[in-house]
Amino acid sequence: MNSHDITVFGYLVFLLAGVVLELLARWTRLRIPSLEAALARAMRTRTGRVGVLVAWAWLGLHFFAR
């Protein structure tokens, strides 16, 4: 396993962990909020709301805009 594989494996682990957290939140009685609930909570204030939307906007700009 070279460093490229380890780096990609790390991304996959984080992705899988996110999926597991979401499944635990939706299908078990553990007190874990779903991603939607966590985002809704973060977006209750204007600063949080604009911050999340700017993070989304940044992704589009990063991949497509000069």
Partner: protein, 185 residues
């Protein structure tokens, strides 16, 4: 402050337009916060809480927005990455969505209430850990603009997908859908 730092780093990494846009949002947000704080001190009252009852959106409106989003993804996906048409289109849509979000939720929504700190910290921890992993890959590259096969960033891994019209359109469609989802929260 975080937004301003991101704006500075974006600008010095060769994306001056993006940096300017982020800096403008940071300044507007700081100005708006200062104004709101001053007003709440003067009136000794908190801003009114908004919207707690959930309401379903109209199917026709949802279909129209979905069609517009797919059209945007198909057309803008045909432009080369980092070209001026792509830049203007993406910045235009991003600015509109942030401006809509600035005014508050466009429809009534369910109040999530207080969330368990431990459960929420799991999401926050995951986000921070993933960000640090990406940052370590970025730092281990030969340069900020030079990708490395040994330590690929997410941007480097997605480059092959974004070389084709179809790939760009799919990614843009996902991005537009995420924006639509977020702005309605």
């Amino acid at each position: 402050m975080i937004l301003l730092l991101i704006a500075v780093f974006t600008a010095i990494s060769g994306r001056p337009v993006n940096g300017l846009l982020l800096a403008a949002v940071a300044v507007c947000l700081a100005w708006d916060n200062a104004r709101t704080r001053r007003r709440s001190v003067l009136t000794a009252a908190q801003p009114p809480a908004r919207l707690v009852a959930a309401r379903r959106p109209r199917p026709l409106a949802v279909a129209a927005v979905a069609a517009a989003g797919l059209g945007f993804a198909a057309v803008v996906g045909s432009f080369a990455r980092y070209s001026w048409p792509a830049t203007v289109s993406v910045i235009g849509l991003a600015a509109v969505v942030v401006a809509i979000g600035w005014r508050g939720p466009p429809r009534s929504r369910r109040d999530p209430g207080e969330l368990r700190r431990r459960g929420t910290s799991l999401w926050a921890g995951l986000l921070v850990a993933a960000g640090l992993w990406e940052l370590s890959a970025l730092i281990l590259q030969p340069g900020l603009d030079t990708t490395s096969s040994a330590h690929p960033t997410i941007s480097a891994l997605t480059d092959p997908l974004l070389t084709s019209h179809g790939g760009r359109s799919v990614v843009l469609a996902v991005w537009v859908a995420a924006g639509w989802f977020l702005v309605r929260r």
